[in-house]
């Protein structure tokens, strides 16, 4: 026991030991992924090297560089070994999409403390923004036979999708933010359903969304004549967007705006009396959170090449909420971890478990009724996660930490008073 403690102590103090451990771990798992035909466990362990990296004691800059090497070189290369290259990359891409959405929801729920239960609506807005114009659907209401737009416009549509989702965020927020927190949850829940119902039925009077049939053969993006079709190509698009999102979230969190969000979350009345404009602060949280989701919606539409309203149901909104709550509301690393865990649970663990149980019952070892197959148990599992985390670990897996400001900075002199967290935000700091 004491030997183990000793080792743990050395590991915490000694950076060399840390880097050796990290490199060894990464090499072994990467080799395993590269050499084995299809091993989900090995791939998950390879992804876990990022978590290991998070707990090392290097400076942030070095961590970022190592993380980039892992994400851009090691993981794609290791996965390319076997025939299941694209299925690995599909998982990683989905992870990235959900991480970005969860980070968006984290701004609304975690930073600003507004429970939004219809978050997938913004994802849908982004997806349909690209879907409508990148198929011949838009010809139905814009004359001139201009559509589908070419795949080159995809890059602009990432921004347009984010912008449209942001607009919808404000549209939802304007009426709703005047009411108190618990009403907000129900209204956003209703809003998510409204958006889905509208997309499901907007084929008349003018056929805009093609109703329940969905939009098919959406143009894949192209960059200077290079078409993106496979998951391992989308992986890089997602990573690029994700990096921007993470950078933006980290900058926002410690900005004047981020501090106002937290102040509003802790106590609206106190925040207001310190001069924080409530409505505007909340609206910006809604808009920015929604726009992350909208951007990923565009990528999702292009990647699937087919979207219909069934991809945007309540269970999706809940999944994203579970990611944020499990990881830790308001904690960026926590939310990234939570989103990855839930995505992998959803895509890999549950399906593998179902296959395994099916095999067992085929061989006649145990009999598992179809009703209990793990892939159908999402709601149960997510519900349990929500209850258990709420009761036993309300701060999530990695609790949010507030950045500490040295005492002399706060009390230093009159010219530094703007560093006090609850300072009023001025118009120029709002990113709109």
């Amino acid at each position: 026991m004491s030997k183990l403690d000793n080792m743990r102590h050395t590991l915490r103090e000694n950076k060399l030991a840390q880097i050796i451990l990290l490199v060894l771990f990464t090499l072994v798992t990467a080799a395993a992924v590269y050499l084995m035909e299809r091993s989900v466990t090995a791939f998950l362990l390879l992804l876990a090297s990022l978590l290991l990296l998070y707990y090392t004691s290097f400076t942030n800059g070095i961590k970022w560089i190592i993380a980039l090497v892992l994400l851009l070189v090691v993981i794609p290369f290791a996965s390319s070994g076997g025939t299941s290259y694209d299925s690995y990359m599909e998982v990683a891409t989905q992870c990235g999409i959900y991480v970005a959405m969860a980070l968006g929801l984290n701004i609304v729920v975690g930073f600003a403390g507004l429970l939004d239960m219809g978050f997938v609506a913004f994802f849908a807005v982004g997806a349909y923004t690209y879907g409508i114009f990148a198929t011949d659907q838009a010809n139905n209401f814009i004359s001139g036979d201009l559509f589908p737009l070419s795949g080159g416009t995809f890059w602009i549509f990432i921004l347009i999708g984010g912008f449209m989702a942001g607009i919808f965020g404000i549209l939802l927020g304007l009426p709703v933010l005047r009411v108190k927190g618990d009403y907000l949850a129900i209204v956003t829940l209703g809003f998510g359903e409204i958006i889905r119902i509208i997309f499901n039925n907007l084929e008349k009077p003018v056929n805009i969304t093609n109703g329940a049939m969905g939009l098919s053969s959406i143009q894949p993006p192209d960059l200077f004549g290079f078409d993106f079709t496979f998951p391992h190509q989308y992986y890089f698009i997602v990573i690029a967007i994700l990096l921007v999102v993470i950078f933006a979230v980290r900058r926002l969190e410690h900005s004047r705006l981020g501090r106002s969000w937290k102040a509003v979350r802790e106590n609206e009345i106190a925040a207001q009396s310190m001069g924080i404009p409530l409505i505007r602060t909340k609206l910006i949280a809604f808009a920015i959170g929604a726009s992350f989701s909208g951007m990923m919606g565009v990528v999702f539409a292009a990647k699937q090449t087919f979207i219909d309203p069934t991809s945007f149901t309540l269970i999706e909104s809940t999944t994203i909420l579970v990611m944020v709550v499990l990881g830790g509301m308001g904690s960026v690393p926590g939310v990234i971890l939570g989103a990855s865990l839930v995505t992998i649970l959803n895509l890999q663990v549950l399906t593998e478990l179902t296959n395994w149980l099916n095999q067992l019952s085929m061989q006649g070892i145990i009999e598992v009724p179809n009703a209990l197959s793990p892939s159908k148990m999402q709601r149960f599992i997510f519900g349990m996660i929500l209850i258990l985390v709420a009761i036993f670990r309300p701060n999530g897996l990695i609790a949010a930490k507030n950045r500490k400001i040295p005492k002399e900075v706060v009390t230093g002199g009159p010219h530094q008073h703007h560093e006090v967290p609850a300072a009023p935000i001025s118009a120029k700091t709002s990113p709109e």
Partner: protein, 328 residues
């Protein structure tokens, strides 16, 4: 256009009142829990759904024992409602004990998340059981009263069409009215009702007046959930098929009804339920006619949520609620 709307109006009113009575009783559960804990019990829609399933399984059990033929239909109906009320009441108490009580002092956001989790767990548990027993989670419900009769509105004036009324609809009205009057008397006239109102006003002071606050909260959950469960049975009998996901949308609409009447206000919830039910039926019958076929009955849910949003903007305290000033 008006002529055809008038033609269907009697039928729309009858159906709307039946639906509205169901919303009203479910809304009571939301309003009671909110009044006492200031917590939206998200799981309430699922409790309603569990009531529908519990009642139906008791009914199927009766059927397999061959008791249905021996008892008069209304006796077995009342018996089934009573059993469903006991089951869902106990369920509500259990939920309060496990998922809400540990969080009573926690931030609002945390208890909302827990409540949301409970509703998902319940949906899936009911699905397991239904699917294990029958192989399909959508259950069609045997009808106790399958008679129907026609009300001759056209004999009053030719503008109206006739309305067909299910016998079950009459039963819904009777049960809903009995439950609502019973609750009203209980809350306003009895000792326990007084304790309930005291806890809703001020929990701390009530506990100083030797009221057992925990017991009162449990009682509130029991009554609210039992009301929800009883409507589940009524709903299953009226519409014939149930599945584990009916509670979600219905819960949202009942909540809208509670907000419309002023949340925390019991008589307001009854009124709100009737209004929402009638408006929804009116919309689903006439939206297509009024917009020239462009927007049909599939928008009726949008309509209900739009009401919720409009009420929250212009009169957040509801029609009968009192505006509460927030204390610092």
């Amino acid at each position: 256009m008006f002529a055809s709307i008038l033609q269907t109006l009697p039928q729309v009113l009858i159906d709307g009142l039946a639906l509205g009575a169901i919303y009203a009783v479910v809304a009571l559960g939301y309003t009671m829990v909110y009044g006492i804990l200031e917590l939206i019990n998200f799981a309430h829609g699922e409790i309603f759904m569990t009531g529908a399933f519990a009642g139906t399984s008791v009914l199927l059990l009766f059927q397999s024992f061959g008791w249905l033929g021996n008892l008069p239909a209304w006796v077995s109906y009342v018996l089934i409602i009573f059993i469903a009320m006991m089951v869902t009441g106990a369920l509500g108490v259990g939920i309060e004990r496990v998922a809400y009580r540990p969080l009573r002092k926690a931030p609002k956001l945390i208890s909302l998340i827990s409540a949301f989790g409970v509703s998902f767990v319940l949906q899936d548990l009911v699905r397991f059981i239904a699917e294990l027993k029958t192989g399909n989670y959508i259950i069609s419900v045997p009808q106790l009263f399958d008679g129907r009769f026609t009300l001759g509105f056209s004999s009053i004036t030719a503008m109206f069409g006739n309305a067909t009324v299910k016998t079950n609809t009459i039963f819904i009205f009777i049960v809903a009215i009995v439950l609502m009057i019973g609750l009203d008397i209980f809350v306003n006239r009895t000792k326990w009702g007084g304790a309930m109102r005291a806890v809703a006003q001020d929990r701390e002071t009530a506990s100083l007046m030797s009221i057992n606050v925990n017991k009162v909260i449990l009682l509130t959950f029991f009554i609210g959930s039992a009301l929800g469960g009883s409507t589940g049975v009524l709903f299953a009998q009226q519409y014939g098929t149930i599945d584990p996901y009916i509670g979600f949308i219905l819960g949202l609409k009942a909540f809208t009804a509670a907000v419309l009447g002023g949340i925390g206000n019991i008589r307001g919830a009854m009124f709100g339920g009737i209004v929402i039910g009638v408006l929804e039926m009116f919309a689903s019958a006439n939206l297509g006619i009024m917009t020239g076929g462009n927007f049909g009955a599939e928008y009726k849910d949008v309509f209900a949520f739009a009401i919720l949003i409009v009420v929250l903007i212009f009169k957040p305290e509801g029609l009968f609620g009192k505006a509460v000033k927030e204390k610092v």
